[in-house]
C-alpha cells in the first residue's frame, strides 16, 4: 500500500525463462574505468553473465543494446557474482563468479573503439577452482587483517567453509550443528564470520578460531572421535533469533563501530558487533531483500527493504521514511552511481526484471476500475422506473415483512365429545363412595388448509377434571390433510367440579416461519360428574326458576338421566354428584316454574347452569324466540356469603399450614446443617441432643404435611 511508485529511470528484461536469486546481482566499477561509475553485473541460474552500464532512456529500442557491455553464456549456473580485488599483486577489481562446483575469477576490460558504439569489452579468465562440494554462497573480505586484496570464503551446501586466498586454497572447516545453509557475511572490524544457523541463531566465528580448528578433511567420518590436532570449532558468540534469516549485512559505515543487520522472516534486527541488540522491528509483511546504506543523519542507519507485496521501503532506523511501489518482488537490491545520476536503486526480480529507479512523487499506478455505468437514456430509464414502481407497489400490497392476518384460518379444529361414556372407564380414581367414576372420549380433528409445521396441541381443563393426555405433538401436515387425536376426560378429585368446559390451544408455524396460535373450546357432559338418583323431598336450599313457556318434560331435557328415574311423567329428576351432594330438579305441573333443591348450596350451580343451557337449546329448537327465564324473590345472598366465607376460611387455614410447614422445613435443614458440621469435624464432639431434635422436627414436618393435605 503506497501512495507513490518508484520512478523508472532505466529498465531491462533479461532473457526468457531465466531465474535469478539473491546473489545474482552486484554493482561495481568492474572494468576499472577509474571513473567511479558503477556497472551492473547480473548472472543467471541459466549461466548467462551480463554487464550493464545503464544510461538515461533515450530510445526504448537502442537503450538495452547500448547499455549492455557484455553478454556471455557460461558453462554452469551462476549462483553468485562479486566484485573485488581477487588477484594478488593487482589493485584492479576483478569479478568472482560462483558456480555450483566451480569458482572462477575473471578480469573485465574494455578497449575504446573507433566508432561511436565501438567500445569493446572482454572477459578473461584469471584463475578458477574446482570445488569438491556443491557451493551455496560466498563472501569476501580482508580475512585476517590483510590489506590490499580480498580473500574469498565459500559455504557449501553441507556446511563446509572453504577459504581461498587468491589462486590458492587455504583450508576448509565444517560448521558445527549444520543442516541448511544460512546467509554468510564477513565482518572486517572484528575479523569474524557471521551466519544464521539452522538452530535459528546468529553465530559469530573468529577467523583465527576457524584457522586453528580441526581440519575439515580429517574428519570425513563424523562418528570418529576428534583428532587431537585441532580445536573443536565453537562460535565466538551466539544470539538466538528464533527465526531463519533471509539476509545478513555488515555495512562498513564507520571505523569505530559496525552494526550487523539481519533480515529475518518476520523481524528486522540490528545488532552491535558484540552481539547486543541495538534495535529491532517487527515486520508486518513478508520481506524479500534488503540493503543497509549510509545515512545522512549521525547515529542512524538507512535501510532499503523490498517485500513480497511489491514495495520498496526506506527506513531510517525504525521509522518509515518512504514507501514506493515496484512492479515486481525484488530478490536483490543495490545502490549504484552512474554518470548521469547518483544513488540509483537497482532491483532485480526473480524472473529477470532489472530496474534502475529513484524515489519520486509519481502516484502509484493503482487506478480504480470503472463501474459499468450505463449511458442514461432518460426516457427509457423513466419508463423502467415506472414499471418497477408498479411492481414494488404491488409487492408491498400483497406481501410484506409482516404478514397480514388472513381472514380464513390455516387450521381448523373440530371437537367431538362422545355422547356415551367409555367402557371401561379411563379414570384414575376407580370409584367414589361406591359410585363408578366414568370417563368420556373427546375426539379432535385438526384439518390444515396449507402446509403446517411443528404444531403442538395443549388441552386445558379445570381440576378436578383431568384428561388422559394434555399435550400432543402433531406431525407436519400438508395442505388439505387432517389428523385425529383422542383423549378421555374424567373426574380426578373428591370434590365437585366448577366448570365443565375445556380449552384447546394449537400452536403451529407456517412454512415461512410465522408462528400462529389457534384456540377452541369444548364442553363435557354433566354425566361425567354425576349419576341419576331418586329425588329427595326435603332439602336445605331451594332455588326457583321462572320461565314464560309451558313446562316441559324433564326427561326430554335430560334424556341420559331419565333412564333410572322412577318418575315417569318427568316432573322431577335427581342428580347424585360423585363427590357427595344430591341435587333434585322439580318441574311444577301447573306453573312455568322449576325448582332446584339440594342440601349443598354450591353444588346446585352446575345443575342450574346445565338446566338453563338445555332450556335455551330446547326452546330455540322449538322455534320459540322470546324464551325468558328469571329468578323471582330475593337473591339467596346469605347462603352465598356463607359459602364464600367458608371458602375463605379454608384458604386461610391452608396458608397457615403451608407457613408452618416451611418453618418446620427450615428448622429441619438448620438442624441437619449443624449435625453435618458436627459429623465432619475432625475432633468428635457430643451431639448435644441434636439428633433428638432432628427426629422431633421430622415428625412435626410429617404431621404438618398430612394435615395440610
Amino acid at each position: 500500500m503506497s501512495l507513490f511508485k518508484a520512478r523508472d529511470w532505466w529498465s531491462a528484461t533479461l532473457g526468457e525463462g531465466e531465474e535469478f536469486d539473491q546473489g545474482c546481482l552486484c554493482v561495481g566499477d568492474v572494468d576499472n574505468s577509474g571513473t567511479e561509475h558503477d556497472k551492473v553485473v547480473v548472472g543467471s541460474y541459466m549461466g548467462m553473465l551480463r554487464i550493464f552500464s545503464p544510461h538515461a532512456n533515450k530510445t526504448s529500442e537502442g537503450a538495452l543494446v547500448e547499455a549492455l557491455l557484455l553478454e556471455v553464456q557460461l558453462q554452469n549456473a551462476i549462483i553468485q557474482v562479486e566484485v573485488g580485488k581477487f588477484v594478488s599483486c593487482s589493485d584492479l577489481l576483478h569479478l568472482a563468479v560462483l558456480h555450483p562446483r566451480k569458482l572462477s575469477v575473471f578480469s573485465v576490460s574494455g578497449t575504446a573503439g573507433n566508432v561511436e558504439h565501438g567500445d569493446q569489452y572482454q572477459l578473461k579468465l584469471v584463475y578458477e577452482h574446482n570445488l569438491q562440494r556443491t557451493a551455496c554462497n560466498m563472501t569476501y573480505g580482508t580475512f585476517g587483517g590483510v590489506t590490499g586484496h580480498h580473500s574469498l570464503c565459500i559455504q557449501s551446501m553441507d556446511g563446509m567453509l572453504m577459504f581461498f586466498e587468491q589462486d590458492s586454497y587455504t583450508f576448509g572447516r565444517f560448521l558445527p550443528g549444520f543442516l541448511i545453509p544460512g546467509p554468510l557475511v564477513y565482518n572486517s572490524r572484528t575479523d569474524s564470520f557471521l551466519t544464521v544457523s539452522s538452530a535459528r541463531q546468529l553465530e559469530s566465528y573468529k577467523y583465527e578460531t576457524l584457522a586453528v580448528a580441526t581440519e575439515a578433511e580429517s574428519r570425513q567420518d563424523p562418528d570418529l572421535p576428534l583428532k587431537t590436532g585441532g580445536k573443536r570449532l565453537t562460535p565466538d558468540w551466539t544470539f538466538v533469533l528464533g527465526e531463519q534469516a533471509l539476509d545478513l549485512c555488515v555495512p562498513s559505515l564507520s571505523h569505530y563501530s559496525s552494526f550487523i543487520f539481519i533480515l529475518g522472516e518476520r523481524n528486522l534486527y540490528c545488532l552491535r558487533d558484540s552481539g547486543q541488540i541495538r534495535f529491532m522491528k517487527k515486520l508486518e509483511f513478508n520481506p524479500s531483500s534488503f540493503l543497509p546504506y549510509a545515512s545522512v543523519t549521525d547515529g542512524t542507519t538507512n535501510l532499503l527493504l523490498g517485500n513480497h507485496t511489491n514495495m520498496l521501503l526506506v527506513y531510517q532506523d525504525v521509522t518509515l521514511k518512504w514507501a514506493a511501489q515496484l512492479p515486481f518482488v525484488p530478490v536483490s537490491i543495490r545502490v549504484a552511481n552512474f554518470p548521469e545520476i547518483k544513488g540509483v536503486v537497482i532491483s532485480l526480480s526473480s524472473d529477470g526484471h532489472l530496474l534502475c529507479s529513484y524515489m519520486g512523487t509519481d502516484p502509484s499506478f493503482f487506478s480504480t476500475p470503472k463501474v459499468d455505468a450505463r449511458e442514461a437514456d432518460y426516457e427509457q430509464v423513466d419508463a423502467e422506473m415506472k414499471t418497477l414502481q408498479k411492481f414494488i407497489r404491488e409487492a408491498t400490497r400483497t406481501q410484506d415483512i409482516l404478514a397480514k392476518t388472513d381472514a380464513e384460518e390455516d387450521l381448523i379444529v373440530t371437537v367431538a365429545v362422545s355422547s356415551s361414556m367409555d367402557s371401561p372407564s379411563q379414570a384414575l380414581i376407580q370409584d367414589i363412595d361406591g359410585l363408578t367414576v366414568p370417563s368420556v372420549t373427546v375426539q379432535l380433528k385438526v384439518k390444515a388448509r396449507c402446509v403446517v409445521q411443528s404444531s403442538k396441541m395443549t388441552v386445558g381443563i379445570q381440576p378436578p377434571l383431568a384428561v388422559t393426555q394434555e399435550t400432543f405433538v402433531l406431525e407436519p401436515m400438508g395442505a388439505g390433510s387432517s389428523t385425529v387425536v383422542a383423549f378421555s376426560a374424567f373426574l380426578n378429585g373428591r370434590y365437585p367440579a366448577a366448570d365443565l368446559t375445556g380449552d384447546i390451544t394449537v400452536s403451529f408455524s407456517l412454512p415461512t416461519g410465522v408462528p400462529r396460535v389457534l384456540q377452541s373450546k369444548f364442553s363435557l357432559p354433566l354425566a361425567l360428574v354425576c349419576v341419576p338418583t331418586s329425588p329427595a323431598k326435603t332439602t336445605k336450599f331451594k332455588i326457583t326458576v321462572d320461565t314464560n313457556q309451558p313446562p316441559v318434560n324433564l326427561n326430554s331435557i335430560f334424556p341420559e338421566f331419565s333412564a333410572k328415574s322412577e318418575d315417569k311423567d318427568g316432573n322431577s329428576l335427581a342428580f347424585q354428584f360423585l363427590s357427595g351432594a344430591k341435587v333434585t330438579v322439580v318441574a311444577s305441573k301447573t306453573s312455568q316454574r322449576y325448582r332446584i333443591q339440594s342440601d349443598c348450596f354450591e353444588d346446585m350451580w352446575l345443575v342450574l347452569k346445565e338446566l338453563v343451557q338445555r332450556f335455551d337449546k330446547h326452546f330455540s329448537k322449538l322455534g320459540v324466540k322470546d324464551f325468558k327465564k328469571s329468578f323471582s324473590g330475593p337473591l339467596p345472598m346469605q347462603e352465598y356469603f356463607l359459602s364464600v366465607d367458608h371458602h375463605f376460611q379454608l384458604r386461610v387455614s391452608a396458608q397457615q399450614y403451608q407457613d408452618l410447614l416451611s418453618e418446620r422445613a427450615v428448622q429441619f435443614r438448620a438442624i441437619q446443617r449443624r449435625l453435618l458440621t458436627r459429623f465432619k469435624d475432625k475432633t468428635p464432639a457430643p451431639l448435644q441432643n441434636l439428633d433428638t431434635l432432628l427426629d422431633a422436627t421430622y415428625s412435626q414436618v410429617r404431621h404438618n404435611s398430612h394435615s395440610s393435605a
Binding site: 500500500m1 503506497s2 501512495l3 536469486d21 539473491q22 541460474y45 541459466m46 549461466g47 553464456q73 554452469n76 549456473a77 549462483i79 555450483p100 556443491t134 551455496c136 551446501m157 550443528g177 549444520f178 543442516l179 541448511i180 545453509p181 544457523s197 539452522s198 538452530a199 535459528r200 538466538v240 533469533l241 528464533g242 531463519q244 533471509l246 522472516e265 518476520r266 523481524n267 541488540i277 534495535f279 529491532m280 522491528k281 517487527k282 508486518e284 513478508n286 524479500s288 532506523d317 525504525v318 521509522t319 518509515l320 514507501a323 518482488v329 530478490v331 526473480s350 502516484p363 502509484s364 493503482f366 480504480t368 463501474v371 459499468d372 455505468a373 414494488i392 410484506d400 415483512i401 409482516l402
Partner: protein, 505 residues
Amino acid sequence: MEVTMDPLFLAWSYFRRRKLQQCSDICTKILQDNPYDQAAWSLKTRALTEMVYIDEIEVDQEGIAEMMLDESSIAQVARPGTSLRLPGTSQGGGATPAVRPMTQSGRPITGFVRPSTQSGRPGTMEQAIKTPRTASTARPVTSASGRFIRLGTASMLTNPEGPFINLSRLNLAKYSQKPNLSRTLFEYIFHHENDVKNALDLAAQATEHAQFKDWWWKVQLGKCYYRLGLYREAEKQFRSALNHQEVVDTYLYLAKVYLRLDQPITALNLFKQGLDHFPGEVTLQTGIARIHEEMNNISSATEYYKDVLKQDNTHVEAIACIGSNHFYTDQPEIALRFYRRLLQMGVYNCQLYNNLGLCCFYAQQYDMTLSSFERALALVANDEEQADVWYNLGHVTVGIGDLTLAHQCFKLALAFNNDHAEAYNNLAVLELRKGRIEQSKAFLQTAASLAPHMYEPHFNLSILSEKIGDLQSSFTAAQKSEDSFPEHVDTQQLLKQLQQHFAVL
C-alpha cells in the same frame, strides 16, 4: 541451454523466494530418493509451515466456550477504567452511543475490523448465542479451534498419501536434543499440525535441554499455554523470556495474555515498557491505541494512532481509525481526506466506498455520494456488506427527504441481512410516520430483541407506547433504554414524565 543444479540448492533458493510449493515438491522428490536426508526434510517442514503460517499474535478469537467457561475472571465488579468487560467504563472523552454506534459489549465501533474487535464478553450464554453483528464482526465464534482445525485439514489435500510427519510416531525426546531441527519441527507441529499438546511436549523438553536459558523456547511454551487457556503459566513463561532477552514479540504475547485476563492497565504499562526498549515500534503503539479504543478512550487512542503514523505513514489501521474517529466527531471533511488517502494507497473495497459515501454525504458533497455507493455496491463480497450499503443509502435518502425510497432501501437491507437491527428500527420510524402503529411496533420489538444493547429501539418503542396510551410498556421500554444509555436526556425526561403520571394515578 539447460544447466543442471543441485536440487537441494534449488529448493533452498525457492524457499528464500517464497515459492513454497515448488520448494516442497523438490524436497518431496529428494526425500523419495533418500528418506533420511535431514536437510531436505527440514526444508520441507519449513515450507509447509510457512504455507499456513499466521502470526500467533493476530490470532485472537475467543470462542463461546472460552467466554462462558472462563474460571479465571478476577473481579466481577471492576472499578471504572480497569476492565474491558464492563461497558460504559469510559473515563470521559469517549463518544456516547447517540453519536457513535456501540457493539454489544458497549464499546464504540472501531474503524478497522480485526479479530479482537469482537471479543466482547457476553454476560449470559443466551446472549452469547444470539449476539447481533453490529460491526458485521460481532458474531461469536462457536469455538476457537474452528479456524485452526481448518488450517490443519488444508494440509492433507496437498499430501494425498497422508500427513508429511506422523506425529504419533515421532520421538520428541530425540528431536528436542537437536537444536538445528527442533525449532523447525516445533513450528511445524504448532502451526501446521496445530497439535498444541505435542508442541508443548517438545518445547518443554527442548527448553530443558537448553538449560532454561533460551528465551525462544520459553516464548513457545507460553504460546502453547496460551492456546491451552493456562494464562497464568503463559504469563510466567513470557516474563521469564523477557528476562533473558527483550524481544518485541514477547511483549506482544504477554500483553495478549493480560488482555485475556482482563487487565488492560497492566497491558498498557507493559506496552509502554516495551516502547522504552524499542522506541517507535509500530506494533506496540498500535497495541496501546487498540486498548484505549476498546476502553472507550477515543482521544488517547487517536493520539497513539497519530504516533503510529509518524513512524509508519502507510499504516492502514491507524488511518482508518483516525478517519472513523473524525467522522464520529462531526468532521466528515477530515474523515473524507483520510479515507481518500486509503483509496489512493490502493485499499479498494466495499467498506471503504461505503465510508467515503457517508463522509461525502455529511460533508455535503452530494455529487460524490451516490457514485461512491454505486461503487460500494459493485464491490460487495457478501450479503452483510450489501445490507450495510443499502442501510446507508437509506440514511442518505432520509436525509434528502425521499421517504419512499428510504423505505425501500431499508427493506432491501433487511432482505440481505435479516437481523439488521438498525434497519428494523429505522423502518419502524418510517412506518410510524405513515401511521401504521402495529407495523411500527412489531419492527421496534424485533429490533429490540435483535440488538438489546441499542437504546434507539427501546426509546422509540417507549415514545410510541406513550402516544397510544400504553404507559406500562412505555415505562418498561424507557427503563431498558436507560439501561443501555444512561446519559440519554430524552429518555430521562420521558421517564420523569411517566413517573409523574403514575404518581398522579
